[in-house]
């Protein structure tokens, strides 16, 4: 039985790490416990496929996949049914939302920022939104498949374009 299986027993000692990662990801305590148990049950059911190596790496991948699907399911449910707001997750602190460029006016109105960002070319908009969403340079490097210097350079270009759009009069932007 899997519970007597030393491979599974060995995984129990990583429970604190699993729980801590879920909490770090923004899941509230009750939901973290529920998810942690779901993760272990899933591992328990698939012990026949597990070779007993790299305990933590195996659990970590399962944690990230289960958490990802959990959040994705909530988004998908909202899209399909315009149902309840279940955004229990990941409200990012304001300071992470500000690009490190003091020259872009922090006091700019939300509307003008929205218009300017929406007008950016896709690549610029994507990198800027990813950074606004909290992605670090390293995250951007991996996600965009670029070198660190290319990430910085592309961010600079995006900010310059944004600055330029912001500096135009509304009518000019519409044209």
């Amino acid at each position: 039985m899997a519970d007597d299986d030393p491979r599974f027993t060995a995984l129990y000692k990583y429970y604190p790490g699993v729980l801590a990662l879920l909490r770090r990801l923004g899941f509230p305590p009750d939901e973290s416990q529920d998810l942690a148990q779901e993760i272990y049950l899933r591992v328990h059911r698939s012990m026949k496929d597990y070779r007993g190596e790299a305990h933590w790496a195996y659990l970590e991948q399962t944690v990230r996949r289960v958490a990802f699907n959990w959040i994705r399911d909530k988004h998908a449910a909202k899209r399909h049914a315009e149902t309840v707001s279940t955004d229990v997750l990941l409200t990012l602190p304001d300071e992470r939302l500000l690009p490190a460029d003091e020259s872009i006016d922090r006091a700019a109105t939300a509307e003008s920022l929205y218009d300017a960002i929406a007008e950016l070319p896709l690549n610029d908009r994507t990198i800027l939104l990813l950074q606004l969403g909290g992605a670090s340079y390293e995250d951007l490097r991996k996600t965009l498949g670029l070198s660190l210097s290319a990430v910085k350079s592309r961010l600079n270009v995006a900010r310059e374009r944004l600055k330029e759009l912001m500096s135009r009069e509304p009518r000019q932007r519409e044209e």
Partner: protein, 243 residues
């Protein structure tokens, strides 16, 4: 007073608009992106989707806590591990034989007939679960999810129930999930989830739910069909009151 910066407000609006246009990426897509297995076109689409769902990117990139003890308490760990071991033990308990299963199916079929005839007491006696059995009928239109359903099912606080939300899906799903939301206050708040709920032969999705620890108020149970993503199928409004 609006304390949100212009950036935050604009960002929220952009995300909201983007999410209406673009569905969240799948974990397989994001893993393939990270492994460099996507064409440039595909990669661009996944990156754009991630830009509108930063929490999904964060799930894949958030570093591990160096010291779990700084994030969770020993009590949380101990109670979680104990509950997990109970669930594992329950999961590995022997399944009933085929003969017993057939017998149970027949018994439940009989139970349904009795309930339809008004014999709710017999239903409770024959049901194998412990706790008060309650059959829940769906609210009707799914649009009712937001504002609360029609006549709520009235349950008592501090009681163990077996809830049997009844629903006939148009098509089978890989699995089913039930989620309970507290809708008493402002924004609905998820308070409990039952994953991998099985559809019983009587067409219901039985779950054991204890209302111990829940406050009086209005709740909503949502039944999801889960395939690649979860789709809400039915909702059931519940009002919890003191016995």
């Amino acid at each position: 007073m609006n304390t949100k910066s212009g950036w935050q407000t604009a960002y929220d609006k952009i995300l909201d608009e983007g999410r209406k246009r673009i569905p969240p990426p799948t974990v397989e897509q994001v893993e393939a992106l990270g492994a460099g297995r996507l064409s440039e076109d595909e990669a661009e689409k996944v990156r754009e989707a991630l830009a509108y769902y930063p929490e999904l990117l964060r799930v894949m990139t958030e570093p591990l806590p160096d010291d779990p003890g700084s994030v969770v308490t020993d009590e949380e760990i101990a109670s979680g591990l104990a509950a997990l071991k109970r669930r594992i033990a329950r999961e590995r308990s022997p399944q009933p034989s085929r003969r017993r299963r057939v017998g149970r199916v027949l018994a439940r079929a009989a139970v349904v007939a009795v309930v339809v005839g008004g014999g709710a007491v017999a239903y409770k006696v024959m049901n194998r679960h412990e706790g008060t059995a309650v059959i829940l009928s769906a609210d009707g239109q799914l649009s009712a999810v937001r504002g609360g359903g029609q006549t709520p099912h009235q349950l008592s606080t501090g009681t163990d129930y077996v809830l049997r939300p009844a629903f006939r899906p148009d098509r089978p799903h890989d699995s089913y999930r039930l989620e309970l939301f507290d809708i008493s206050g402002g924004a609905p708040r998820s308070v409990e989830t039952w994953s991998r709920v099985e559809r019983a032969p009587d067409g219901s999705f039985p779950i054991e739910m204890s209302t111990k620890g829940y406050a009086e108020g209005r709740y909503q149970l949502v039944l999801y069909g889960v395939d690649e993503s979860a789709v809400p199928l039915a909702t059931y409004t519940i009002r919890l009151i003191a016995p």
